[in-house]
């Protein structure tokens, strides 16, 4: 399976119309994802990472100004599909998502088993008992005790609810699961448990993952590769080894240096300044204003440079 491209994204844009102007939340994003690979998308809040997830799954709000680019899944172009085709053929069948705070978004008046069974009934038209049996199997897979199938969300702990949300996305056995901050509200040991589970799913079910997070330390638990997002654009895509030890882009390096570490003696540092507004982002490199290594050329739009299979959008490597 190695190195077959599962998902390819070309120049994806998602702009929103607001009272103050157009917010360029996702502005020309390119990356590819191989089968059975996990890529993490890291960045600060407001950099457009959740919008990227929504753009891939076409879960769009009403105030979209521009939605363009190409998305290929297993070689098939998806942007040409109409909304109904996309819903019937792609969403939750080929690609599913565990949205941010999914554990708190479970329906309080439905039993969790029914909620996990629902995608099977909607998308594959299976009977309820059959769907419930499938849900039961998924519960075993994600480590939720069998008898929880008849419980309600409030009877479950945070970690168990997160597992249920994961089971909901897994039940249709999609090729790709997008996880948006899957562990941000969980305790340390519960986080570790969820990541153990994700690793197991990845190796047993050959699922691919896009993990969207601002928590760089825990992102390394799942990452094969990492994409760094800044102000609506991806500034670096590197393999995990490069990214976590010596990232190329100055922003990635500063971001990495700001992570407090439990082991070792490096003292964390912070990044001076704030990310630019996405309404009128600066021309040229968007990080230039905060970059310690900026020089004259940074006022021009930086090119994307290939470095041993990794991509970096920075004039330093031109």
């Amino acid at each position: 399976m190695a190195d077959t491209t599962l998902l390819q994204i070309d120049n994806l844009k998602l702009h929103f119309k607001t009272g103050r102007g157009t917010v360029q939340a996702v502005d020309g994003v390119n990356f590819t994802l191989n089968a059975n690979e996990a890529i993490v998308v890291v960045g600060e809040s407001g950099c457009g990472k959740s919008s990227l997830a929504k753009a891939i799954l076409r879960l769009l709000p009403r105030n979209v100004q521009e939605y363009s680019g190409k998305v290929y899944l297993n070689g098939r172009e998806l942007m040409g599909l109409n909304d109904e085709e996309f819903r019937q053929q792609i969403r939750w069948i080929k690609m599913a998502m565990v949205p941010q705070a999914a554990m708190n978004a479970l329906n309080p008046v439905l039993k969790v088993g029914d909620q996990v069974a629902e995608p099977m009934m909607v998308h594959f038209g299976v009977k309820k008992d059959e769907a419930l049996a499938q849900a039961q199997k998924m519960f075993q897979h994600v480590g939720v005790p069998d008898d929880f199938i008849g419980r309600y969300a409030f009877e479950l702990s945070g970690g168990m609810r997160q597992r249920v949300a994961l089971a909901m996305s897994l039940v249709t056995t999609p090729d790709l699961i997008i996880l948006d901050e899957p562990t941000s509200a969980l305790d340390v040991l519960t986080q570790a448990n969820i990541f153990n589970l994700l690793k197991r799913i990845k190796s047993q079910m050959a699922t691919s993952f896009i993990l969207i997070t601002h928590d760089i330390a825990t992102s390394s638990e799942l990452a094969d590769r990492a994409a760094v997002m800044y102000a609506g654009q991806i500034v670096e895509v590197s393999d995990a080894k490069t990214f976590y030890s010596e990232p190329h882009h100055p922003y990635s390096a500063k971001l990495m240096a700001s992570v407090p570490k439990l082991r070792g003696n490096t003292i964390p540092d912070f990044i001076v300044g704030q990310p630019p507004s996405l309404i009128n982002p600066p021309t040229g490199c968007r990080f230039a204003a905060r970059c310690p290594k900026r020089f004259a050329r940074c006022v021009e739009e930086p090119p994307v440079i290939q470095l041993d299979g990794n991509l970096v959008k920075c004039w330093l490597y031109a």
Binding site: S157, A217, K241, S258, F270
Partner: protein, 346 residues
């Protein structure tokens, strides 16, 4: 054996000698217990939630401690009791020589002016309809600072202190016009404006981005050193504790199970639970994705009926059968400066 256990519990809940011990520390917490009654249908008694169950520590002027534990371990209840928002069921909180539970109306107000509180969610902690100026002016008005010029001067000073300059630009702004980091600075400024002696920070950076986290923690640390503040830092994130506290207290199911100097505890955890917490905390490292983490099975116990003996024993990989599940472990000090309640170190 269970009967003996019951006796121990009873003896502690109703101590005969209920006089607080003398202390010269700024804050002294002595065998503190905070229990909440559970009721059935509104009246029937259904037990107690023992949120804090026998916690003791001392804090001197200018020193900082971190309280680490998972949600539901009682760290917030402990903190709220220290802030005099909850009343202790048993035990004492002594601040500057005075027992908090004996304070009356005006004295509580004075006490609260000496303790600053930095909330977890800065946006939730700031009133959305108040400007930065009004937010910072309110504590001064409540505490009878009548001269407007003095108020303005103190507000300007505290904003400079939290590095929100130029001050005049920020004064008329509302919370939604500020970034998360700036909001948290306003919260810190508000906690600092009455010149407190003690600052209690409840997960002050958990809602912030990694790039600002360190900035806020460094700011807190700078203020602590400059004003010789005592600081209680409540968190679940062990990786930030290292740089910003002197001592760590690890809580599990309402009790402190290990305490010690930061470097000792992080480099050589004694209690199996502390070890598990440290193992569970990730550092950015590509190697992580290739290995599974060691996680103790199960979840923290209910605080209504915590397990007998050591409360961690049902999940502990190093359990000594016949000891850990029967007798409550006392504190041992196998390493000078590092204490743990675990039978392994008897």
């Amino acid at each position: 054996m269970t009967i003996e256990q019951d006796k121990v519990q009873q003896k502690i809940v109703m101590p005969k000698n209920d006089k607080p011990a003398k202390t010269d520390a700024l804050l002294s917490v002595q065998d503190l217990r905070v229990h909440f009654e559970l009721r059935k249908f509104g009246f029937g008694h259904a037990g107690y939630v023992k949120a804090v169950d026998g916690v003791s520590f001392e804090l001197r002027h200018g020193s900082s401690i971190a309280i680490v534990g998972e949600s539901g371990c009682g760290k917030t209840s402990l903190m709220k009791t220290i802030l005099a928002l909850y009343k202790p069921t048993a035990g004492h909180v002594i601040f500057d020589g005075k027992d908090l539970s004996l304070l009356k109306g005006g004295e509580i107000k004075k006490y609260r002016s000496e303790v600053g509180y930095v909330q977890q969610d800065p946006y939730g902690a700031l009133a959305p309809f108040m400007s930065v100026q009004r937010i910072l002016e309110e504590p001064l008005l409540i505490n009878d600072v009548k001269d407007p010029a003095e108020r303005a001067q103190r507000i300007a000073k505290v904003l400079e202190e939290v590095k929100m300059t130029p001050v005049n630009e920020f004064l008329p702004k509302f919370p939604h016009q500020l970034s998360g980091g700036q909001q948290q600075r306003v919260v810190i400024a508000r906690a600092m404006i009455l010149n407190p002696k003690l600052l209690v920070a409840d997960e002050p950076v958990s809602m912030l981005d990694a790039s600002v986290r360190v900035e806020i923690l460094k700011l807190l640390q700078g203020l602590q050193e400059k004003y010789n503040l005592a600081l209680i830092y409540v968190t679940h994130d062990l990786s930030t504790v290292r740089y910003f506290s002197e001592r760590i207290f690890v809580m599990y199911a309402g009790q402190v199970i290990e305490k010690g100097e930061v470097d000792l505890l992080v480099n050589n955890p004694l209690h199996p639970y502390t070890y598990a917490l440290l193992q569970g905390t990730s550092d950015p490292d590509a190697h992580n994705s290739t290995v599974m983490k060691e996680v103790p099975p199960g979840e923290p116990p209910s605080l209504v009926n915590p397990p007998a003996g050591c409360r961690f024993h049902p999940r502990c990989p190093k359990i000594i059968k016949g000891v850990c599940d029967i007798k409550v472990p006392p504190e041992f000090e196998p390493v000078p400066g590092q204490l743990t309640a675990c039978w392994l170190y008897e």
